[in-house]
């Protein structure tokens, strides 16, 4: 029970955290693009858009930061046996993240928000790029840490303590799961923020007519379409790599109990789940699973049952199959949301080409509602990755049930769960209200309204 609660708590807090993270990473980048456009072209419109989306970024960052604080504490609080075992390796990227990324991001965000009238325009532009770089660097370190849990590399087992010890930092930072996973996360973040910018712009255009948000609408589509298509290619490559190191994860994503060659991919299934080994799979696409898992037309995918037998021989008695229901449907939720985003993006590009984008009410309505898709896609993607690692907390090194804090009682977990539950709900409501309110505002005044276009811009004070 304690184990289940600790797992639920980590899952819920990290899923919640990752609603804000990709928006921050992507929106910092998009805001920097907007400000660069203003810097280059000097159009007052671009400046007003920069400040509009920058405000959304700031509101979002606040929640991302405080929920991230919980994540860092949670390793030690709920997973002390894990922390004790692997801190030598897992702690290093976290410490680097703080020193290299968080300082950069926080300090320069302060400079950006408050520095409009204190810094030259060029230096002020650099501060938002520093923020964007900080957010991307922080994702790199946490992904390096997470990838080590999926595919441990660059370590030796200490003879004196029996614990894994870092022996090659370069191996950790060039872990193929990390390189591809990091790229995948960056692209997904761009997709998420671009979808947010698209939805806000579409709502504004529909409400206020085609004079102000046309540029941000086009910018968001120009980022969204290549990002989502690349994200899908990188994701499929990541799948091949994970199939090599975590075959259970990929076999479970297709509910493939028996070994197959070539293997098809089903669009959906009836029945299935964890006990039904022969679900009725509907609309199978031949060879697709072989392609996704092995990059070859006739590739072989080993089924869950033979893998289970193989793991028992290797690691001793136990059940090593992840939750097949979650794997199967998370895979599809992720892929289908991505597919819908591609369609929406292509539709948008086609409308731009025909010069009708700002007047197509159908597209603008669809674009507003589509904002939900990247969040479904991200959450499903993380479920696929993290639930697919189970029952391991570190693949092949420690089981999740062995990583939980021995000194934390069930009551303490219940109390923390209730407190975090209340805090996150309150935070979520306040954040949602503010995001909606600020998304629906009119654009603020630009410098063109002032008599002197070179006068310092007011900073965004508290």
């Amino acid at each position: 029970m304690t184990l289940d609660l600790a797992r639920w708590q980590f899952a819920l807090t990290s899923i919640n955290h990752f609603l804000f993270v990709p928006v921050t990473i992507g929106l910092a980048f998009l805001t920097a693009l907007l400000q660069t456009a203003w810097h280059r072209k000097g159009q007052p419109e671009y400046l007003r858009l920069t400040r509009f989306f920058g405000t959304l970024l700031v509101i979002n960052v606040a929640v991302g930061v405080v929920t991230g604080l919980v994540q860092e504490f949670e390793f030690g609080m709920n997973w002390s046996a894990y922390s004790r075992l692997v801190g030598d390796i897992f702690g290093a990227p976290l410490a680097m993240e703080g020193l290299i990324a968080f300082f950069l991001e926080s300090t320069f965000l302060g400079l950006w928000i408050f520095g409009w009238d204190r810094l030259s325009r060029r230096v002020h532009l650099l501060t938002i790029w520093a923020v964007a770089a900080g957010t991307m660097a922080s994702a790199a370190f946490i992904m390096a840490a997470n990838s080590w849990m999926q595919h441990p590399v660059g370590y030796t087992i200490s003879k004196t303590t029996g614990r894994p010890q870092l022996s090659d930092i370069w191996a950790v930072l060039t872990n193929p799961v990390f390189l591809w996973g990091y790229l995948h996360v960056l692209l997904a973040s761009l997709v998420t923020a671009a979808a947010v910018m698209l939805a806000v712009s579409a709502w504004q255009l529909r409400r206020r007519g085609p004079d102000s948000f046309g540029f941000s609408l086009r910018l968001s589509l120009a980022v969204l379409v290549p990002a989502i298509i690349l994200a899908m290619f990188v994701g499929s490559e990541l799948g091949v790599i994970e199939a090599r190191y975590q075959p259970m994860k990929i076999a479970a994503a297709e509910a493939q109990w028996k070994t197959c060659q070539p293997c098809s991919f089903s669009l959906f299934q009836i029945g299935g789940g964890n006990n039904d080994h022969t679900p009725t799979q509907i609309l199978e696409i031949p060879h697709l699973l072989s392609l996704l898992a092995t990059n070859s037309w006739n590739g072989k995918v080993i089924g869950l049952s033979p893998l289970q037998a193989q793991y028992q021989r290797k690691y001793g008695p136990g059940y090593y199959v992840p939750n097949v229901f979650i794997q199967y449907w998370a895979m599809r939720a992720m892929a289908y949301s991505a597919g819908l985003i591609v369609l929406l993006g292509l539709w948008g590009l086609w409308l731009i080409r025909r010069g009708k984008i700002v007047t197509s009410r159908l597209f603008l309505t669809a674009a507003v509602w589509a904002v939900i898709l990247p969040f479904v896609m991200n959450t499903a993607g993380w479920l696929l990755t993290e639930s697919g690692r189970q029952p391991w907390i570190v693949q092949g090194i420690q089981l999740t049930r062995a990583g939980v804090s021995p000194s934390v009682s069930f009551t303490e977990l219940v109390i923390s769960m209730v407190i975090f539950g209340l805090l996150y709900t309150g935070l979520g409501v306040v954040d949602a209200v503010l995001m909606l309110r600020y998304s629906r505002r009119e654009l603020g005044p630009g410098p063109a309204q002032a008599e002197d276009a070179d006068a310092p811009l007011p900073s965004m004070l508290y």
């Binding site: 509101i59 002390s80 004790r84 030598d88 702690g91 020193l99 408050f114 520095g115 923390s416």
Partner: protein
């Protein structure tokens, strides 16, 4: 100095840096209602730390992460042992962090009052709880042979730990008052100085008590160490300097007081990191909790490269925002 000793020192430095920098943010958070007078004054007070507090809070994250990386055994026992205290701490940190960003995002008195309350409460609770936690490390907690905490939530609330928390809160108040005095002009500046004049002598007595108690608990001989003496002298110097209206030097003095008070806990702790009240043989030390030498070497290189960079741009930020604020600039402009 070995790598393990270096990392203990570095973690002590990071905690000290956190309290010195975020310490005045806590002070401002606690005092903005008292010193502000009206809404414009409150905004002026909050905006003195507006561009700074977020970066200052990163010192806490880095302190935690550095403990995780360099002394996983310390991080694991401390964070799981202090469980409920940390849940409360996180709640306070969240409420406080959000309140800065959100209080001005909606124009309503009730909305601002709510966030002001959370800001004040959060800024009080965070240093109090961290103080309790640091005090507990030195005072000792029930820890068994395998390094696991065996007490309950109530075991954490020992008199010494609580007094450590109170001491840190008191220094934060004085430190925050001298900071506002330094960063503002006009009425709010006067009020901050007046408050610092009253708070500093009281804080001095508290710090004196804390230093004596800390030294007694650590049991390392009769004579206090230089850091402890510096803490007491600095805080009384601050009391005198505020009377002389020398807020710049007074802020320097409260900075030294804060740094020395934090450092005195770590100097007395060394080479232990968590004292076991069950059996001194079960004490967690820098040696039995440390990471391997390769990991420490890698991180030492990273710190050597990036810490100077961080310090440089942090210093530049303080330089950019060096101008003093007044309540007046936050009053709505008169038309005509």
């Amino acid at each position: 100095m070995t790598l393990v000793e270096f990392w203990f020192m570095l973690i002590a430095v990071v905690w000290t840096g956190f309290f010195v920098l975020e310490g005045f943010d806590f002070g401002v958070g606690m005092l903005h209602g008292v010193l502000g007078g009206d809404e414009a004054g409150r905004r002026a007070a909050i905006n003195t730390i507006g561009p700074l507090w977020d970066g200052n809070e990163v010192w806490l994250i880095v302190a935690g992460a550095a403990m995780f990386a360099a002394f996983p055994g310390w991080y694991a026992t401390m964070f799981s042992g202090l469980y409920l205290a940390l849940v409360l701490l996180l709640g306070a940190l969240m409420a406080r962090g959000i309140s800065f960003e959100y209080r001005g995002k909606h124009d309503s008195a009730a909305w601002r009052r709510t966030w002001d309350g959370l800001m004040t409460g959060g800024s009080l609770v965070v240093p109090l709880l961290i103080g309790v936690a640091l005090g507990d490390l030195l005072h000792g907690l029930p820890i068994d042979a395998s390094g696991e905490y065996t007490g309950s939530f109530w075991t954490l609330l020992q008199p010494y730990g609580l007094f450590t928390g109170i001491t840190l809160v008191a220094i934060c108040v004085t430190h925050g008052a001298t900071f506002i005095a330094l960063k503002t002009e006009g009425e709010i500046h006067e009020r901050a100085l007046a408050l610092a004049r009253r708070a500093a002598p009281v804080t001095g007595l508290v710090v004196l008590g804390f230093v004596v108690w800390t030294h007694a608990i650590a049991g390392k001989g009769f004579l206090p160490n230089p850091v402890e003496i510096a803490a007491v002298l600095a805080v009384f110097a601050a009391a005198w300097l505020t009377r002389e209206d020398r807020e710049g030097w007074a802020f320097t003095a409260t900075t030294i007081a804060m740094a020395a008070a934090t450092a005195s806990i770590f100097t007395e702790l060394y080479p232990r990191v968590m004292v076991s009240s069950t059996n001194p043989a079960f004490d967690l030390t820098i040696h039995n909790t440390a990471s391997g030498s390769y990991a420490l070497k890698v991180m030492t290189i990273v710190v050597a490269i990036f810490l100077p960079v961080v310090l440089a741009y942090t210093a530049w930020t303080y330089y950019v925002f060096r101008r003093r604020l007044t309540s007046g600039e936050f009053r709505p402009k008169q038309t005509g």
